[in-house]
Amino acid sequence: MTAITGTRPVRRTRISTTAIVYIVLLGAIALSAVLVAAAGKSFFSAGTLTSVLTLMSILGFVAIGQTLVIISGSLDLSVPYVVSTASIVGAGIMAQGAAGIVPGVAAALLVSAAIGAVNGLIVTKLRVHGFIATLGVGLIISGWLGTSFQGSFGSAPAEFRLLGATTIAGVPLSTIIMLVCAGLAALLLHRTSLGLHIYAVGGNAHVARLSGVRTHVPVVVSHILCSMLAGLAGLLLLARTSVGSPTIGSQGGYDLMSIAAVVLGGTLLAGGSGGVLGTIGGVAIFAVLDHTMGVLEVNPFFKDFLRGAVIIVAVALYAWRSVQRRPPRFHGKGKEA
C-alpha cells in the first residue's frame, strides 16, 4: 500500500495547479466584467450567474467523468454518443408518462454503464488504446443512432422537465446535482482505495501492478462512471429539451470540449495526476468565456478561434510552470527552460 501511495502525486503540486486554475478563472471573470462593463452592460447580475451555471452543468457532468478516465490513463471520445443514447432511451421510456420517469432514468443509466463497460473492457482486455477504443465505440453508436432515429424521439413528462427548469436561489438544480456528482467523484478519488488505484494505474500501470493493484479494475470502473455521468448529462438535456435527440451529444461537441476542460483544469492528459476540483474550474473558465463572448456578441467563428487559443495558452502556462519547477538534475541548465 505504501508503494501505491508513493505514486500518488505530491499533494503540494496538485493544490498549486488547482490554485492556478482558479486564479485563471478569477482573471477570466475580472476580464469579462471589465469587457462587459465597457460594452455598457452589467456582468454581475442574477441572469449572468444562472447563464454561466447552466452552461457549466452539462459539460460539467461529462468533464467529471472524463477526469476519472484521464487520470486512469485512458480517454473517452464516445461521450457525445452516450449523451445522445441516454436522451433517446430515457425519452423512449418516459413517453408513457410520469410512471416512466424512474424506469427511464434507470434504463438510460444502465445502457450508459454498459457502454462504459464495453469501452473499459476493450481498453483493458483487448489492449486497445483508449483513444481508438472509444473513438470506435462512439462511431459504432453514431451509426446506430443515425440509422434508427431521424429527428427527435419520445418525450419527457412535465414532472421530469422540472429537473431542467428549477432554480434554487438562482442556482439551477442541474448545477447542484452536477456539483454533488463532483463531490462524490472527489471522495472516490481521494478517500477510497479504488481512487488511489485509479491514480496509481494512470501514473504507472507497471509499477501499480508490481505493487499488487489489479490494473484492469480501476480503468474499467472509470470508464463505467464516465459513461454514466455522460448518461446523466443526456438525461438533463432531455429534461431541458423535452425530447430525445440522436444528435444532441454531437451538437455540443462534448468529446473534445470535455477533454479540453479537464486539461484546462490541470489534469495531466497522460494520466496519474489531477483532480475533479480543477476540472470544475476548467469548465467554469469555458462557461465564463462563452457567456462573455455571447454577451459581447462576438462573431461565432471568432469564438471558436478564441476557444482554441485559450486552450493552448492555458495548458502551455501550466506546462511552463512545471518545467520551471523541475529540479535541475533533470535539466542540466534548469533556469533556461
Binding site: L126, I140, A205, F305, G308, V315, A319
Partner: protein
C-alpha cells in the same frame, strides 16, 4: 536478424503479411476482389484509376499523420488545415491564373507555419499534442471562417483545379501521380537516418534523447510533414470537388483510422508508412463495397468503428506474437521496413 536471413524471400514475404503492417495489403486485395464481384465494372482499369484518384487525398493525409503518430504524437488539426487551404485557394487564387504559383507558395507556407507551431508547442512548451492540435483545429476553423464570413467567394481557376481533377494524357490522373511520388518519397524518408530517428523517438523518447538524438527537432519535422501533407490533400480536394468550408471535416480521424488500420501503433515507434496509405485506400474501398451491396450509408460510421477496434486489437495480438523470436533487437526493428514489435503501450498496461 539471422533468423530472418535464413528464410527464403517467399517465406519472408508471407511472414511480413502476417504482421499488422502487412495484413492491410491482404485486406486491400480481398476488398478489391469483393468490389469487383459486387460490380464487375469496378475492376476495369479506368474505374480503378478513377477510384485511386479519389482516395489520393486521404492516402496522402494518412502518410502525413503517420509521421506524427509514429513519433508518438497526434495531429488533430489536419482537417482544419485542409479546410483553411481550400478557402485560401478559393480566395487568393480565384480566377487569376497568375496567382496560381504565389497561391501554392502561400498555402505551403501556411502549412509549414501550422506544423511548426504544433511542433514547437508540443516539444518546447510541453503541451500534449492532443491538446495543441485540438486547439489548433478550433482556432484554424474559426479563424478561416471568421476572415471569410463563412465561405470562399468561389472556386479557383480551372487550370489550378486540374491538379486534383485532370488527367495526364487522358489516362492517368495527376493526383495518382502525386500520391505515388509522395509515397515513394515517404518510404525513402523512413529508410533514411531521419526515419530511424523518428521511430526511435516514438519508441522511447527518453532513450533517444540520452543517446544524443534531437527529439524536439525530429518531432517538429513530423508535425511540419503532417501539415504539408494536409496542404497537398487540400490542393487535390479543391481540384476534385471545389471550394466548400466543410471539405476536410473528419479527415483527422479518418487519417488516424487509416494509419492504425495500416498497423502503426498509437504511442509511436512502430509502423510502415506505405501501410498507412494502404490503410486509407482499404478504408475507402470498404465504404465502396458497402455502398455497392446496398448498405445504408448511415451505417458507415459503425463499420469504421468496428474496423478500427478490430484492427488495433488484432494488431496488439499480432505484435505480441510476432515478438517471440528473441534474437531481434530494437535497432533492427527500426531498420526493417516491417519493424519487429515490442510490447504495445496501452493504458492499464504500462
Amino acid at each position: 536478424m539471422s533468423a530472418l536471413a535464413q528464410q527464403s524471400p517467399w517465406q519472408r514475404f508471407v511472414a511480413a503479411l502476417g504482421t499488422p503492417s502487412g495484413a492491410v495489403f491482404v485486406l486491400l486485395v480481398v476488398l478489391l476482389i469483393a468490389a469487383s464481384i459486387a460490380n464487375p465494372r469496378f475492376a476495369e482499369p479506368d474505374q480503378l484509376v478513377r477510384f485511386l484518384a479519389r482516395t489520393a487525398p486521404i492516402a496522402i493525409a494518412a502518410i502525413g499523420q503517420f509521421f506524427v503518430i509514429v513519433s508518438g504524437e497526434f495531429d488533430l488539426s489536419m482537417g482544419a488545415v485542409i479546410a483553411a487551404q481550400v478557402v485560401i485557394a478559393g480566395n487568393i487564387i480565384g480566377q487569376d491564373e497568375a496567382m496560381i504559383l504565389p497561391g501554392i507558395a502561400l498555402m505551403l507556407l501556411v502549412g509549414v507555419m501550422v506544423g511548426l507551431l504544433n511542433g514547437v508547442l508540443t516539444t518546447f512548451a510541453k503541451v500534449p499534442s492532443f491538446i495543441v492540435t485540438l486547439g489548433m483545429m478550433l482556432a484554424l476553423y474559426g479563424f478561416v471562417r471568421f476572415l471569410t464570413g463563412g465561405a470562399a467567394t468561389g472556386n479557383p481557376v480551372d487550370s489550378f483545379r486540374e491538379i486534383g481533377r485532370g488527367l495526364l494524357g487522358d489516362v492517368l490522373p495527376y493526383s495518382v501521380i502525386i500520391l505515388v511520388v509522395l509515397a515513394v518519397a515517404a518510404w525513402l524518408l523512413m529508410r533514411s537516418p531521419f526515419g530511424h530517428t523518428l521511430l526511435a523517438v516514438g519508441d522511447n523518447a527518453v532513450a533517444a534523447r540520452l543517446s544524443g538524438t534531437r527529439t524536439a527537432g525530429v518531432k517538429i519535422s513530423a508535425f511540419v510533414l503532417s501539415s504539408l501533407a494536409a496542404t497537398v490533400a487540400g490542393i487535390l480536394l479543391v481540384g476534385y470537388a471545389g471550394v466548400h468550408p466543410s471539405i476536410g471535416t473528419g479527415y483527422e480521424f479518418q487519417a488516424i483510422t487509416a494509419v492504425v488500420l495500416g498497423g502503426a501503433v498509437l504511442g509511436g515507434g512502430r509502423g510502415w508508412v506505405l501501410s498507412a496509405a494502404a490503410g486509407a485506400i482499404a478504408l475507402e474501398l470498404l465504404f465502396t463495397v458497402l455502398n455497392q451491396v446496398g448498405t445504408d450509408s448511415t451505417w458507415r460510421p459503425s463499420v469504421q468503428g468496428i474496423i478500427i477496434i478490430l484492427a488495433v486489437a488484432l494488431g496488439a495480438v499480432a505484435w505480441r506474437t510476432a515478438r517471440r523470436p528473441p534474437s531481434v533487437s530494437r535497432t533492427d526493428a527500426a531498420r526493417d521496413p516491417d519493424p519487429i514489435p515490442t510490447p504495445t503501450p496501452t493504458p492499464g498496461e504500462q
